[in-house]
């Protein structure tokens, strides 16, 4: 019986020729990540171990992105705790305000993850790096602490669901619509404990940022990880961003999958997840009349350059509707800079949007765009749980950058085709 992509990466990192679903292994880690919310708990646990060094100062990575720039005194204290720890342990990859971006957009951009890596992060959206052919998964702070100490983590080897992609996306439809479509189809626990492996001739037509968006939301289907087959586009992206050499793992011909879904990308429509679950999806032609108060375009899901560019192409020469606040958050400093150089910031500001420094901010109801009771937002983020962006009676509708930009113009959830 053959192995899936994920199983091959895990076997190699556990020093085994072969692993099978359900097996418990201890795997070597190529990177251990934390942010300003999860790292303080990890640091507290690490200090209980009574050791004075991390396993590899080049592999431990901390990014101050959630409540940074510091939203209040408590947040400032947590960032300071991380800063002091990284200074003391001489951590190479500590990203503070000025260098930081939203962690899952930043790590690929900085070349810190390549194909074949095993990465854990104390952030559930760590599954994003599967877009580059790595095994990466979210863990908690204690796992992060132990990862920092011994460079290893325990895993139960997952079985997998295969998504065979074919065809090409239509205009204004993107990776976000595909992953929302999939979560709507299989449910928020449809891939629980398992891998989601994306293959097929349709992969080639998806940009790296579409792929990052899709693997980012694997966790919203309950998956342990999402992973794309590596192709020329992946290798080209890695060569542009990293000095490290990728290792490419392909699933065996006889790999066993729990289920296989064939998805024709040309049939995927713009898709919106209604409150309060990412699986509560409707296609754009079935959304009805939903008036909104706020639009957020950004996050680790959709703050990539192509997302910002797509939103700008729709907002160009138009105005944000009266009584709608439109917040644009490029995910990293490099994306921000490129958006500035290419005139996108001007388009947003003239349309009546604000453009923020990189931060997770509003996605998790932290700061920079909190909702009042009963308010509604269309957001390119990844979760629409009760109270996620503010008051427990506020509502979040998850959508693509194109739908979010079009909705900002009309003040209700809108098909981009209607405003173009």
């Amino acid at each position: 019986m053959g192995m899936t992509m994920t199983q091959k990466i895990l076997a190699a990192h556990a020093g085994l020729d072969k692993v099978e679903a359900g097996q418990l292994i201890l795997a070597n880690l190529d990177r251990v990540l934390g942010n300003d919310i999860t790292s303080p708990v990890a640091i507290r646990e690490f200090e209980k171990l009574g050791i004075d060094k991390v396993y590899d100062k080049d592999k431990v990575t901390m990014v101050m992105d959630h409540f940074a720039p510091n939203k209040d005194i408590k947040a400032a204290t947590q960032c300071k705790m991380c800063r002091d720890f990284c200074g003391d342990k001489e951590i190479t990859h500590f990203y503070d305000v000025g260098q930081m971006g939203i962690e899952h957009a930043l790590l690929p951009e900085k070349g810190l993850v390549v194909s074949g890596d095993v990465v854990i992060g104390a952030d559930s959206h760590t599954c994003t790096y599967g877009a580059l052919g790595a095994f990466s998964t979210g863990v908690g702070s204690t796992d992060m602490a132990c990862g920092m100490a011994i460079g290893k983590a325990w895993f139960k080897v997952p079985s997998a669901i295969k998504f065979e992609l074919k065809g090409k996306l239509n205009p204004y439809v993107s990776g976000k619509d595909v992953i929302l479509h999939i979560i709507g189809m299989i449910g928020v626990d449809g891939a629980l404990y398992r891998s989601m492996e994306f293959t097929g001739e349709g992969v080639a037509s998806l940009s790296i940022s579409d792929r990052l968006t899709m693997t980012n939301m694997a966790i919203e289907a309950g998956a342990k990880n999402g992973i794309f087959e590596v192709d020329d586009q992946t290798l080209e992206y890695i060569a542009q961003h990293s000095d490290r050499k990728p290792v490419v793992y392909k699933a065996d011909e006889d790999a066993v999958y729990d289920e296989t879904y064939v998805i024709d990308l040309s049939e995927v429509k713009s898709t919106v997840a209604f409150p309060h679950l990412p699986g509560n999806t409707r296609t754009i032609d079935n959304v009805g009349d939903v008036k909104i108060d706020q639009v957020v375009i950004g996050s680790c899901t959709n703050g990539f350059y192509r997302d910002i560019e797509e939103a700008a192409s729709i907002l160009k020469g138009k105005k944000v509707a009266k009584n709608v606040r439109a917040i644009i958050i490029p995910a990293t400093q490099d994306i921000y800079l490129k958006a500035m150089e290419n005139g996108l910031l001007k388009i947003f500001i003239e349309a009546g949007c604000i453009v923020s420094t990189p931060t997770c901010g509003p996605c998790l109801g932290g700061h920079m765009g909190i909702l009042a009771a009963g308010e509604r937002a269309v957001s390119t983020t990844n979760r629409n749980f009760v109270g996620r962006m503010g008051h427990p009676t506020s509502e979040v509708y998850l959508a693509s950058p194109a739908v979010a930009a079009a909705s900002a113009i009309t003040g209700r959830i809108t098909d981009p085709k209607e405003v173009m």
Partner: protein, 164 residues
Amino acid sequence: MKFEGTVIKYGDNVDTDVIIPARYLNTIDKKELASHCMEDLDTTFTSRVKEGDIMVAGENFGCGSSREHAPIAIKESGISLVIAKSFARIFYRNSINIGLAIVECPEAAEAIEEGHIVEADLDNGILTDKTTGDSFKTAPFPEFIQNIIENGGLIESIRKGAVK
């Protein structure tokens, strides 16, 4: 491991954002986290929960964010055990790593009601609803995980050299 407590019951897909809303994640103080536990789902939880109570829930308990603050808040609020139909995977491993007892048992999670008294014998894998007299069998933990729990969590396991 044996527990006995009164049941507080919730439904499916209880996410970590309602277990502990992100607006309170600017602290790692366990008591402060516990004081906001379940707030966005059930404003009465913190005032009615008693030491030793047992939480029972439906499918996919603890889905969403990886915040370890969620099992920490539940444990610190006095809950001794969580029984659910299924758990989201990061919440599951976080609970084991910090030593919050959790048990997956769809039949028990379906049958046991709010306010019932439940006895849990995890060594023998038996849950008993003392209010109705019904009992339920649970699967034992794999040896590897049992080891982590017996050593007092992952940090202690590493300290003792049980995981290296």
